[in-house]
């Protein structure tokens, strides 16, 4: 049972400017179990070069908590790439 043989299906959510770039609000992606959030972002960055320009200003979340980009992902996780917040 090497980690690379297992896959994880995660739910991905997009908001604000990121949603406009990606073109939809929600996605479902299969990736190697334990892959970091960073790897998931690279997947979208490859398809949407404009997204890479915003990388430095984005925060990541996993299961509704802010998370480091190195956080490993597992099946059932919910991930989002969050632009700077501007509520209030």
């Amino acid at each position: 049972m090497s980690p690379s043989l297992q896959t994880a299906r995660v739910k991905v959510l997009f908001f604000g400017r990121v949603k406009e770039i990606v073109g939809h609000a929600e996605d479902s992606v299969e990736l190697p179990d334990g892959a970091p959030i960073e790897a998931l972002f690279s997947h979208y960055g490859a398809n949407h070069p404009e997204l890479r320009r915003f990388r430095a200003s984005l925060a990541a979340s996993r299961n509704q908590e802010f998370a480091a980009w190195s956080t490993p992902l597992h099946s059932g996780d919910e991930v989002a790439f969050l632009p700077p917040v501007s509520g209030g």
Partner: protein
């Protein structure tokens, strides 16, 4: 979140915010002070005339973060109750986007907790505002949430 039993009123809403209900919720006979903050839609932003705003949220996470703020202010300040509502969707000039009410026996706690609540909301709650002008629309410049620590668990065991 060891204060989950506190009966604070914490809401995301799509209709106009009911200020009176939020104030009524925190008002009690043992309180001597109620401080409220009403954030409303200005008719200008960075020198341009605003037409209206549109607010979008990551709703489940936003509610979680608002509950964290409530728990934090009960730990930090000797307050009695708080209520906080943020509106989503299209808002016209003058309408309330966020309303906070805090009650306490004495006024310093209510002032400090109310200020802490709105300051923290603006840094940590995943809500986004799009500003519409006569000549276009922009996402408001926002604030970066505090960065979480990098986790070592990311490295696969080799």
């Amino acid at each position: 979140m060891n204060k989950s039993l506190q009966p604070d009123l914490l809401l995301l809403v799509r209709d106009p915010i009911d200020h009176a209900a939020l104030i009524q919720h925190v008002r009690a006979a043992e309180d001597g002070a109620i401080v409220t903050f009403d954030g409303c839609v200005r008719n200008h932003s960075h020198g341009r005339r605003t037409l209206y705003l549109d607010y979008e949220a990551y709703e489940s996470m936003a509610l979680g973060k608002i509950r964290e703020i409530a728990a934090q202010i009960h730990e930090k300040f000797p307050i009695h109750l708080m209520s906080m509502a943020h509106r989503l969707g299209r808002l016209e000039i003058g309408e309330t986007s966020v309303f906070i009410a805090v009650s306490s026996a004495h006024r310093p706690a209510a002032f400090e907790a109310c200020r802490f609540a709105i300051d923290t909301l603006k840094r940590t709650v995943p809500i986004w505002k799009k500003e519409y002008f006569v000549d276009g629309a922009v996402w408001a410049e926002g604030e970066m949430p505090p960065a979480p620590l990098e986790t070592c668990a990311a490295k696969p065991a080799s």
